[in-house]
Symmetry: none
C-alpha cells in the first residue's frame, strides 16, 4: 500500500483551483505550487503570461512555509540584517522568506503541506495563497 | 502585455488530466509534469503514494524531451557506453534519457512543450506520457 | 519543424552589435548576453579585457530581466533589507538585481527576450543594455 | 591595461561566423560556443530552432576541449566503462566528452581557446567545430 505524506493530490488540486480563481478575481497572473508534509511538490500551475522567474519562487515559498510551519513572511521578519536568522535564505538550496507561502492544515490543525504563490505584489501573493490554503478541509 | 511561450495552462492541464486517467486505467501511480516551449514548468501532479524520487525525474524527462524535441528514450539509445552521446546526462543540470518524456505539438506540428511521466516501468511511463500528449489539440 | 521562442539570432546579434558599439563609444569593456522568451541564451560577446566575473553576471541579468519582464534595477529596489522582496536573489539559481538587464520587445510590445550587460558602473551597464535593446525592431 | 586571456573577441566571432556558415552549408541547426584560454565564454550563437538542450552542451564541449587541450571525442574514448578515465564527466560541473569540441590554436601552435558545437550528429558537430577553429589564424 503506498504511503501518504500528508496532503492528497485531490486536496492539493483543490488548493490550486481556489488560488487560481482568487488570482483571476484580483486580476493577477500567478504561479501556484503545493507541497506535501515532506516538502515534496504535489501540484503546480503556471498561469499564461505569469512571470517565468516566479515558477521557482512559488515552489521555494511552499517549501519554506512547510520547512518551518509558518507563513514565509514571518521568517523574512527574522532574516533581516541584524536579525536572529540573518541570511537563512542560504540554506536548503535557497529559501524565499517574503510573503506568499503558507502552511496547509487539516481539520485537526496538523500541518499536511503548504502552498506557495508568486506573480504579483507580496500582498497579492499572500492573499492568493491564503485562498488556496483555505480550500483544504 | 504577457507573452506566451508555447503551450497554455489549459492545454497543459488537459495533458495532465489525460495522463492521470491513463495512469489510473493501467493501475499505476505516476508523477506528471508539463513544460512549455522554453522548458519551463507549466503544470504538475503527484499521485498519492507515487515514488517521491520520480517528482524530479518526471520534470527532467519533460525538459529533456523539449531540449531535443524527441522522446527521451531515443536519446537513451545513443547515450549508452560506446554510443555517440555517452554521458550526455551530465548536461543541463541533469537529463533523464530513458522513456517517459515526449514532446507536445500543436495542430501544425510545431513543438509547444513536452510532458514527462515517472512512477512505473519505463514502458508504462511512456504510455502515460503519450496519452497526455495526445490530449493536446 | 523547428520552433522559435521569441527573439531570432539575427535580432539578438543586432542587439549585441549595438551594445558593443555603445560600449566602445563610452570607453568601457563589457560582457553582453541576450536570451530568448524562454530565458535561454541566444547570443553572447565578451569584449577583450572585460571582467571575467561579469560573464556570468551579464547572463544572470538577461535572465532576471526576462523572468520578471522589467529592468533588473527595478527588482533591486525591492530586494533591499526591509524591502518586500528581500533576498529574492536566492531563487532561480541566482538572480542579479542591480541595473544592466532590460527586456527586449517587438513592435507590438510583446517581450521576446532580454539583454544583460556587465563590466562597468551600473549606470553604464544599463545604458549599454538600453542601446542593445533599442536595436531590435 | 586590460589583460587578455588568449583568443580575442574578433577571433572568437570569426570562429562563430565560420562555424555558422558551415552549419548552414550542411543544413543543420547548431549552437556554437567559443571559450578563451581560461575556459571562459567569449562568444556564443544559438541558431533559430536549434535544440535548446545543446546551448549548455556546446559550452561544456568548448570548456572540456580547453580543460584538456584535445578534441572532446578523444576524452570520450577514455571515459567508457573499464577505461582509465571512467566517468570523468562528473568533474568540473559536468563535462561533455563526445565529439564537437576542439581546441583553437594560434599561428605558433599555442592553445588560445576552444570551440564547442552541438545540434546534430556528433560527426556534424565535430565538422562544424573544425570549420570554426580553422577560421582563427
Amino acid at each position: 500500500m503506498p504511503s501518504a505524506v500528508g496532503i492528497t493530490l485531490e486536496q492539493a488540486q483543490a488548493a490550486v483551483t481556489a488560488a487560481h480563481k482568487k488570482a483571476v478575481a484580483i486580476e493577477t497572473l500567478m504561479n501556484i505550487a503545493v507541497v506535501d508534509a515532506g516538502a515534496n511538490l504535489v501540484a503546480f500551475a503556471h498561469m499564461d503570461g505569469a512571470w517565468l522567474g516566479s515558477i521557482d519562487i512559488s515552489q521555494k515559498k511552499a517549501r519554506t512555509a512547510r520547512y518551518f510551519d509558518m507563513p514565509t513572511g514571518a521568517i523574512g521578519g527574522l532574516s533581516q540584517p541584524g536579525g536572529p536568522l540573518f541570511n537563512i535564505e542560504h540554506s536548503n538550496g535557497g529559501l524565499i522568506t517574503f510573503p506568499g507561502g503558507v502552511p496547509i492544515t487539516d481539520a485537526s490543525g496538523e500541518v499536511i503541506g503548504a502552498i506557495g504563490v508568486s506573480g504579483s505584489t507580496v500582498e497579492n501573493d499572500h492573499a492568493v495563497a491564503e485562498a488556496g490554503a483555505a480550500a483544504v478541509k
